[in-house]
């Protein structure tokens, strides 16, 4: 794609304009300030816990460390530090996912989402907050009970106090995320997740560097290969993320008026990867299940199955295949959840639009369904590859310092970065108009 220079200003100009756009400057400052606040909160410890014993245990117990480590990715190291923001934005994210799933299942919610406009969406947002409160309560009680053994003075008071601190922290973070969405730049919840993922980057880098300095030639080679694969994955992810099929659409109103202008911009964009990061998350969650089950029951059969399904087991290809199949399945599931072709056809009718050569109504929904099916299979396979390859290369090179920077994290990072950049762009645009007014 050729981008003509007159249109898209270079980075320097853009930054200059960002600094000049007064509204934008304020928003960026608010966002950065709130994000820093969130980071700080992670290091405010929950009171009454014997920290030394806790961190000793964490380091001593590899298994426990692993689980916490996984959760740390999304809470930015909050769990291992046991700060008041340990739960972070996670309860809110979970609540959003729960509500998204429920909206598809419960007609009353669906009605709110579809037919009540902005007011309905506000109501759903309110519900999401309540659900996240519930979720945070649940999670914090579990954690509080679990850390009782490190308590300075164990007892019900400690449990209540810890749970309260964690819930309050989580609600505070949720509020901050909404503040960012409203007064800052980008989507608050996404940015917080983004921040939490990025927060672990310095440590990973440091570990990698240490490894490279201490290791032999093959380790360095492995790291280089890993880095290249990583870059390639990022490129791949941008493709999956941004890939869209554009179905042209004609509008009855424009047909009558001047047609020349509408044709270029009038299309229905269908994304290659409707579900975003969700299929991967669900697939991983399911793949972890036999593992946990085996740990829990210590059953011989389950253990063997778990072993076969492990990426580090004797048959990594079975794991990979399973992973891929699950990702494809969940991609279909999610795409059907997000985009209902019947509603789409109805909506096109409401707008007085139609896909050229396809009858409005049922024929349109069938046509869209067909396109969606083909798109989803393509997108899902691609997504699966992007998810598996870095893990595979990691396994082959035996360098684990980048663990956690799997496809999930990268997808989130890329998605959030693109969205936020776009939003910043629109502020810069208003600034440019302003410049034209002033001469």
């Amino acid at each position: 794609m050729v981008v003509s220079r007159g249109k898209t200003p270079n980075a320097q100009e853009t930054f200059l304009q960002m600094a000049q756009a007064s509204g934008l400057r304020g928003r960026i400052l608010i966002t950065v300030g709130l994000l820093i606040l969130c980071r700080l909160g992670i290091f405010i410890p929950v009171p009454g816990i014997d920290r030394v014993a806790f961190s000793n245990d964490l380091q001593g117990n590899a298994n426990l460390g692993g689980v916490i480590g996984f959760l740390d990715i999304f809470s930015g190291g909050g769990l291992s530090a046991l700060g008041v923001f340990a739960l972070g934005i996670l309860p809110y994210i979970n609540a959003s996912i729960i509500l998204q799933l429920l909206t598809a299942a419960v007609p009353a919610l669906e009605d709110l989402q579809k037919n009540e406009g902005e007011a309905g969406r506000r109501k759903i947002a309110q519900l999401t907050r309540y659900v996240s409160l519930g979720w945070a309560l649940l999670q914090s009680i579990v954690i509080a009970v679990w850390v009782t053994r490190y308590a300075v003075t164990p007892g019900p008071l400690f449990t209540i106090q810890t749970a309260l601190a964690l819930v309050a922290g989580s609600m505070f973070v949720m509020w901050i995320s909404e503040l960012i969405t409203e007064r800052g730049i980008g989507n608050g919840a996404s940015l917080l997740i983004f921040l939490n993922i990025v927060a672990t980057l310095p440590r990973s880098l440091q570990q990698t560097l240490e490894l490279a300095q201490s290791g032999d030639r093959s380790t360095v080679g492995g790291i280089v290969i890993l880095l290249i694969v990583f870059l390639a994955t990022i490129v791949g992810i941008v493709f999956v993320q941004e890939g869209t099929r554009r179905i042209p659409v004609v509008s009855a109103r424009r047909q009558v008026g001047n047609r020349v202008y509408s044709e270029r911009s009038s299309y229905l964009p269908l994304r290659l990867n409707q579900g975003g990061v969700m299929p991967i998350i669900f697939a991983s969650a399911i793949l972890v299940l036999p593992f946990s089950l085996a740990n829990f029951t210590s059953n011989e059969v389950v253990l063997r199955i778990a072993n076969y399904l492990s990426p580090n087991g004797p048959t990594p290809w079975i794991y990979a295949l399973f992973y891929l199949v699950l990702i494809v399945a969940f991609s279909y599931f999610y795409s059907s959840l997000i985009l209902n072709p019947v509603d789409l056809a109805q909506n096109l009718k409401k707008m007085g639009s139609s896909i050229p050569g396809v009858r409005p109504g049922r024929a349109t929904s069938q046509y869209v369904q067909g396109v969606l099916n083909r798109l989803t299979i393509l997108g899902a396979v691609f997504l699966g590859l992007v998810a598996i390859i870095p893990t595979a290369v990691e396994g082959a090179t035996r360098i684990r310092t980048f663990q956690g920077f799997g496809a999930t994290s990268l997808l989130i990072l890329v998605g959030v970065a693109i969205d936020t950049a776009k939003q910043v762009q629109t502020y810069v645009i208003s600034q440019r108009y302003e410049g034209m007014v002033k001469d």
Binding site: A252, Q255, S262, S265, G276, K350, P356, G361, A363, S430
Partner: protein, 948 residues
């Protein structure tokens, strides 16, 4: 709860102003003894102080705040001397709120007009102009003449903008310190100014300050309707008629349950005001039309069919529009008034015309448009007044950054708002209303019944007729509109029953016992009009509605379906007048009319002008015209005689409990309800209000949801038994809130999208204005040229390739295509140069070529080059902007689908809109450069004509 803790925030806001009021009151003692001359000198003194700080807006603002108490005190004193009206303390508070750029909520009859004089005086002192915005021409003129006296007395110039004024008059009036105008005149003048071909045509100055009267009506109710200047487009009308025929044959779906496949040909979505064809409907419509695809791009029918069905189902005669003189006239849902000249867009109006079988008028294309929202945001400081703003406080703050403050009333209101009564069915409700009317009528209390449409008002009227209750009917029907003043004048009389649409809401002042002013005015008309109005004038024009002076030619009147109408008599029904006139008053009247006939000649004035004379005579503005003076004398006499009667009746009515207002349906916004309620209990009079509702009302049916439907079945009560239930009241309130947020969200969305257009409009208008003012025109064109050269270089040179592979030949050809004077340019000259160097080289070449061109042109006629530059730039801007408007409209529609790609439509609209805008700017530059170099006037012909 927060209110309990912190106290009413409004009270605190008002409290803030109290010390200033005290200060003004203290100043009054110093100012009162001043002579007229000294008082007038104050203005000059203020101005001098302001002149010193005119360079800095911040300092000016500070100084204005400092001057406020003294200026307000001066204004109060002047008003006392000129008009005999002294501003109350609460009016001072109102004035300060307005000066602070806020909205002041003031109840009916609290003297908003007088309040507006305070901030307009203060803000006009800087000489940058203050605008007082009213809703119609009549109010603008009345206020300019009446309140303007005080301003003039104080040495400020006062201007007035009226429909039909010439550009010179407008410019002169806009140049005054204070200008009274209607919102639409202001908006259209702004648009016209930005279509001007030469700077001399521009009439407005840069905006400074505005006070908007009835601000909620303009910024909220009218927010969604843009001001449009349009040109006509030729399009065949047969399609509309065919579509209407087809629509009439199609069947509406009967099952509205969304779960099942709907039967019939189409569904109606009342909430979204939309219709949806079913799959079968598409097939049937295509068969009826004999086409294979409604969306066939060579023979598109879909739009016509959709519109025809909408016209059939959603646009109802006597609710949404009336048919008048072979035209479809829209009835405004908020005010119940007809809006002549306004048309539904996108072919909808044509579809309705086709349905009603009247002549189908040609479609139009937008040349320029702006919404009131964005227009008024152009003012650096904006303020407004209304009786109902509090309910929409949030919207004012979020969208316009206008705070709302409620000004306390001068006298405590004695209005009682009685709880709603709800009936199960609509018919039960109407019966109850009729019964209530009958009872109150018997008691002797005046009653005003507010209905939501012409249709319903007539239904109730019929019901009352059956019971033999005398009443007046006020709605948008021409015969009723004509009698509006008459009906309103007697609505407060003993035992009067008045049925009205929302027309009797905003701005209607119902005076208990009857309005002696109006009555006297009507009497004047009876004598004056038949003697002075010329015969050709009164075809069927309606007083106060006819647009331009001169009105409609009579020939068209004869051609109307009504045939030749009998000549108007201007006779008001005799029972409106409370008393017979004394012979003395009659003599005075006759003398005034005789003088009028002698001065102007018998039957020689247009209706509008004649009406105007009466209006002036009835007002208090000073005049030198002997006829007006005579007329005024007669008017005063008549008024005095009537007032004697009405005063007594007023006392009786007050004794009985004052005006009772009956609402028959909740409106889409609580504001409209409150406007209706506000008719009762004006200026401390007693009064009461009550709403009669039914479960079948539109609002509940469409927005009430399932709950109300279930309630309908749950209540197994008789039709004419009122229902009382807490749950019901809550659902009712819920439904109304839902509607309000629903429309608020729509307006918010419109505003967010419109912001993009607004940015672009301001950018292009600024560019246009620079050209119009002719500042450095040549530099401008050369800059265009340089940008074009840069773009050509960028498009043809790929920096990533080695310089040997650059297609310089093509580049040079492109340059020659735009600038034929550079014919000697060779690709070789550009070899071995970097892209930057090529650009610089081309810039030099361009400048040389342009100078050459200029020399050529100037030989033909000196100065012609500048004219050509201006002409070509303006022409290109206007043409391409017009096309751009359409492109943006198409984009606006298509981004709605982006949500399916999980993209934010608004963000997409912003960024793609920006791309479109840049493309337009590029096209403007290129076309201007091309035209400039191709410009080749022949010396022998008149150069001016050649330019065109």
């Amino acid at each position: 709860m927060l209110n309990l803790l912190l106290g009413d925030p409004n009270v605190r806001k008002v409290k803030k102003y109290k010390p200033l009021v005290t200060e003004i009151n203290l100043l009054e003692e110093d100012i009162e003894p001043l002579s007229d001359k000294d008082l007038i000198a104050k203005t000059a003194e203020f101005r001098q102080k302001l002149d010193k700080v005119s360079h800095s807006p911040a300092a000016e603002k500070e100084l204005l705040a400092e001057l406020l108490p003294e200026a307000f005190a001066v204004m109060r004193e002047a008003s006392k001397r000129v008009l005999g009206l002294r501003h109350f303390d609460v009016q001072m508070i109102g004035g300060m709120i307005l000066h602070d750029g806020q909205i002041a909520e003031m109840k009916t009859g609290e003297g908003k007009t007088l309040v507006a004089t305070l901030p307009s005086y203060l803000n006009a002192l800087s000489g940058k102009g203050a605008h007082v915005v009213t809703v119609n021409d009549y109010l603008a003129r009345r206020d300019a003449e009446w309140m303007g006296q005080v301003h003039r007395f104080l040495g400020l110039s006062v201007g007035l903008i009226q429909q039909g004024m010439s550009p010179e008059e407008r410019r002169r009036n806009y140049n005054c310190d204070i200008t009274y105008a209607t919102n639409s005149e202001l908006g259209f003048d702004y648009l016209r100014d930005n279509m001007a071909a030469v700077i001399e045509e521009v009439v407005q100055r840069p905006f400074n300050y505005a006070v908007i009267d009835e601000v909620d009506s303009i910024l909220i109710d009218e927010a969604r309707t843009p001001l449009i200047i349009s040109g006509q487009v030729d399009r065949p009308s047969e399609k509309y008629m065919r579509a209407s025929e087809v629509a009439a044959l199609l069947q509406r779906s009967t099952n509205t349950d969304s779960e099942e496949e709907p039967d019939g040909d189409y569904e109606v979505d009342e909430k979204g005001r939309n219709v949806l064809l079913t799959d079968q409907g598409f097939i049937n419509a295509e068969q009826l039309l004999g086409v294979s695809d409604l969306f066939d791009s060579n023979d598109p029918w879909a739009h016509y069919i959709f519109n025809a069905i909408k016209a059939k189902e959603l646009f109802i005669k006597d609710v949404n529009y009336i048919v008048r003189g072979g035209e479809i006239v829209i009835v405004d849902e908020f005010t119940g008034r007809v809006m002549p000249g306004r048309r539904w867009s996108d072919g909808l109006h044509q579809a309705v015309e086709s349905k009603e079988g009247v002549e189908i008028q040609p479609e139009t294309q937008t040349l320029a448009s702006i919404t009131y929202q964005n227009f008024f945001l152009l003012y650096p400081k904006l303020s407004g007044m209304t009786g109902t703003a509090k309910t929409e406080e949030l919207e004012f703050e979020k969208t316009y950054k206008l705070e709302v403050t409620v000004v306390p009333t001068n006298r405590v209101s004695r209005r009682r708002d009685q709880p709603d009564v709800v009936y199960k069915t609509e018919i039960g409700k109407w019966r109850a209303i009729a019964a209530d009317c009958a009872e109150l009528h018997a008691e002797g209390r005046p009653v005003l019944v507010g209905t939501t449409s012409v249709e319903k008002s007539e239904f109730l009227s019929q019901l009352l007729n059956e019971q033999g209750i005398p009443h007046n009917l006020l709605n948008a029907k021409p015969e009723n509109v004509e009698r509006e003043a008459e009906i309103v004048a007697q609505a407060g009389r003993r035992g009067a029953v008045t049925i009205s649409t929302n027309m009797a809401g905003r701005g209607t002042d119902i005076i208990l016992g009857g309005n002696a002013d109006y009555m006297a005015r009507l009497k004047l008309r009876e004598y004056w009009m038949p003697q002075l109005v010329s015969f050709e004038e009164d075809g069927f024009g309606i007083a106060g509605v006819a647009g331009l002076e001169g009105g409609r030619p009579a020939a068209q009147g004869f051609g109307s379906p009504n045939g030749q109408k009998p000549r108007k008599t201007w006779k008001a029904s005799s029972d409106i007048f409370p008393a017979e006139l004394s012979t003395e008053a009659e003599k005075l009247l006759k003398a005034a009319v005789d003088l009028g006939v002698k001065t102007y000649g018998g039957n020689s004035l247009s209706e509008l002008v004649a009406e105007d004379k009466i209006a002036t005579a009835a007002e208090k503005a000073p005049t030198d015209d002997p006829v007006i003076q005579k007329l005024r004398e007669a008017y005063q006499q008549v008024r005095k005689e009537y007032e004697a009667v009405t005063k007594q009746e007023q006392a009786e009515v007050v004794e009985l409990g004052g005006l009772h207002v009956i609402g028959t349906e909740r409106h889409e916004s609580r504001r409209v309800d409150n406007q209706l309620r506000g008719r009762a209990g004006r200026q401390g009079d007693p009064g009461s209000t009550r709403f009669f509702l039914s479960l079948e009302d539109n609002l509940l049916r469409i927005f009430g949801g399932d709950r109300v439907a279930k309630l309908m079945n749950a209540f197994r009560v008789e039709e004419d038994m009122p229902i009382e239930s807490g749950m019901l009241t809550r659902s009712l309130e819920g439904a109304q809130k839902k509607v309000e947020t629903y429309y608020y969200d729509i307006r918010k969305q419109v505003f967010e999208y419109d912001e993009v257009m607004n940015n672009q409009r301001r950018a292009i208008y600024a560019e246009r204005r620079r050209v119009l003012e002719g500042r450095e025109l040549k530099e401008q064109v050369i800059q265009y040229g340089e940008r074009t050269m840069d773009e050509i270089v960028d498009a043809h040179i790929n920096v990533d390739l080695p310089s040997e592979e650059w297609d310089l030949e093509k580049l040079v050809n492109k340059v020659k295509q735009f600038v034929y004077l550079l014919e000697d340019l060779e690709a070789k000259q550009l070899e071995d140069l970097s892209p930057e160097a090529i650009k610089i080289f081309l810039h030099e070449q361009l400048r040389i070529a342009y100078d050459l061109k200029e020399a050529q042109i100037d030989q033909i006629q000196p100065g012609l080059m500048r004219q050509a530059e201006r002409y070509f730039i303006l022409q290109q801007i206007d043409t391409l902007w017009r096309e751009h408007l359409q492109a943006m409209e198409a984009l606006r529609e298509s981004v709605g689908l982006r949500g399916y790609g999980q993209k934010d439509p608004l963000l997409e609209y912003k960024s793609e809109g920006y791309e479109l805008f840049l493309e337009m700017m590029t096209a403007i530059r290129r076309n201007v450069i091309y035209s400039m170099f191709m410009f080749d006037p022949q010396p022998q012909a008149r150069p001016q004509a050649e330019v065109v």
